[in-house]
């Protein structure tokens, strides 16, 4: 019996929509599965100014709306469904959907992305949504004229610290090292911003409060000295972890952090199974390379499928 689809794309972020665009134009019988809303992590970003072709920048939401419309224009079918598990080892692959049976396909592109890391300190879970946030663009306006902290030193943390000064009276950037990892132009903006203070070599050991967050407990990573910082909000922007819950990692192969391993053409070790975007084991996680990798994955899937004609 012929499988339901030529290609199933698992995830609806920039990589998924790009893979879908290429697959639709190649006239592969394709469906894109997304558990919630298309867009992915880029929706958490207030402003994208490093995606070529948009010299004035645009919001993450606007970019994703354009990508979804672009794929839709060529007839990409998208479905709201959560993949519970996958059987990928065989020639015809089966994806089991939560509460909705299963679908079969010849090829699969894994583009499930990544999600924000948690700190893992006392108080973090209890105050999530009540002062602890992972999305500056969603929650920044709740902190007008209040004092907040951003935890992290990478691009996301420093860029969003800049953004949050639109609302907060003071933003303290707490970083465990003595220098930032963010791109230089982003760092320059932060150092020039009078509303941003820096706490170097510091880690948060607990988040405390009552009906909302009131303070964080800090420890100096060099001297070991403890301190507290009074504030109303904490934005945790300390990197990402893989959205791999539905992926059989032992079958497709993954690195120690659970990101899927591929070769330079986005092939996993299972024929017909590809990975692209943030779920891939790699150094750089940007919208632009997610899209680029997805184009390659879709192209390789098309070649693979041509063997079945």
């Amino acid at each position: 019996m012929a499988p339901d689809f030529d290609l199933v794309i698992v995830g609806g972020g920039p990589a998924g929509l790009t893979a879908g665009l290429y697959a639709a134009r190649a006239r592969m019988k394709t469906v894109l599965l997304e558990k919630g809303a298309v867009g992915g992590q880029v929706l958490l970003t207030d402003w994208i100014e490093n995606y070529p072709g948009f010299p004035d920048g645009l919001t993450g939401f606007d970019l994703m709306e354009k990508m979804a419309a672009h794929a839709g224009r060529f007839g990409l079918e998208t479905r709201t469904a959560t993949v519970a598990s996958m059987d990928l080892a065989k020639d015809v692959k089966t994806l089991f959907l939560q509460g909705e049976g299963s679908i079969t396909t010849r090829a699969v592109i894994l583009v499930t992305g990544a999600g924000p890391n948690k700190l893992g300190v006392p108080g973090e879970a209890a105050f999530t949504g009540k002062g602890v946030s992972y999305c500056a663009t969603c929650d920044g306006p709740f902190y007008r004229d209040q004092e907040i902290a951003v935890i992290g030193g990478g691009n996301t943390a420093v860029q969003e610290a800049n953004y949050l000064t639109r609302f907060a009276s003071k933003v303290t950037l707490i970083h465990r090292r003595d220098q930032l990892r963010a791109t230089k132009i982003v760092q320059e903006k932060a150092f020039a911003n009078p509303k941003i203070a820096f706490r170097w070599n510091s880690v948060v050991t607990a988040i405390e409060g009552d009906s909302g967050v009131r303070r964080v407990l800090l420890q100096d990573t060099v001297t070991g000295l403890k301190d507290t910082l009074d504030l109303q909000g904490v934005f945790v922007l300390i990197g990402v972890s893989a959205n791999n819950q539905c992926i059989p990692l032992d079958v497709v192969g993954a690195d120690k952090d659970g990101f899927v391993l591929t070769d330079s053409e986005m092939r996993t070790r299972i024929p017909g199974v590809y990975a692209a975007g943030d779920i891939r084991s790699k150094e750089v996680r940007q919208v632009i390379n997610a899209a680029g990798e997805a184009a390659v994955a879709s192209w390789m899937a098309e070649q693979y499928l041509s063997g079945y004609e």
């Binding site: 919630g36 809303a37 929706l43 993450g60 959560t82 663009t137």
Partner: protein
């Protein structure tokens, strides 16, 4: 039409439409400046169609209606709170999947 079953409410309507609404109500606290809020809009529309008559799917714009989010301590959106018989039954923050929201609603029915 998708979305026709979603009820948009104000602070003034919250008591009548949610707390004393007679059926479980899932309230989506959102704002136009929040990308994930806008992105889950279609999921909320689908839920409203699928649960029509059994549960009320409600949206509240937190910019226009600060009192209710303040009362429930909401400082992050999208936050979805499930109410039954005037009580908070469950609460989730972030653009969660449709299956998770269905499971939440099923428990209240």
């Amino acid at each position: 039409m998708a979305g026709d079953n979603v009820v948009h409410i104000s602070d003034a309507e919250f008591d009548a439409k949610v707390l004393q609404g007679g059926v479980p109500a899932l309230v989506d606290f959102w704002a136009p400046w929040c990308g994930p809020c806008k992105a889950i809009g279609p999921v909320i529309d689908e839920l409203a169609d699928e649960f029509a008559g059994r549960a009320r799917i409600v949206k509240m714009n937190v910019d226009d209606n600060p009192a209710t989010p303040g009362k429930y301590g909401i400082r992050a959106i999208p936050t979805l709170i499930l109410f039954k018989d005037g009580q908070v039954l469950d609460q989730v923050t972030g653009a969660v999947g449709k299956a998770q929201l269905i499971a939440m609603l099923d428990k209240a029915l």
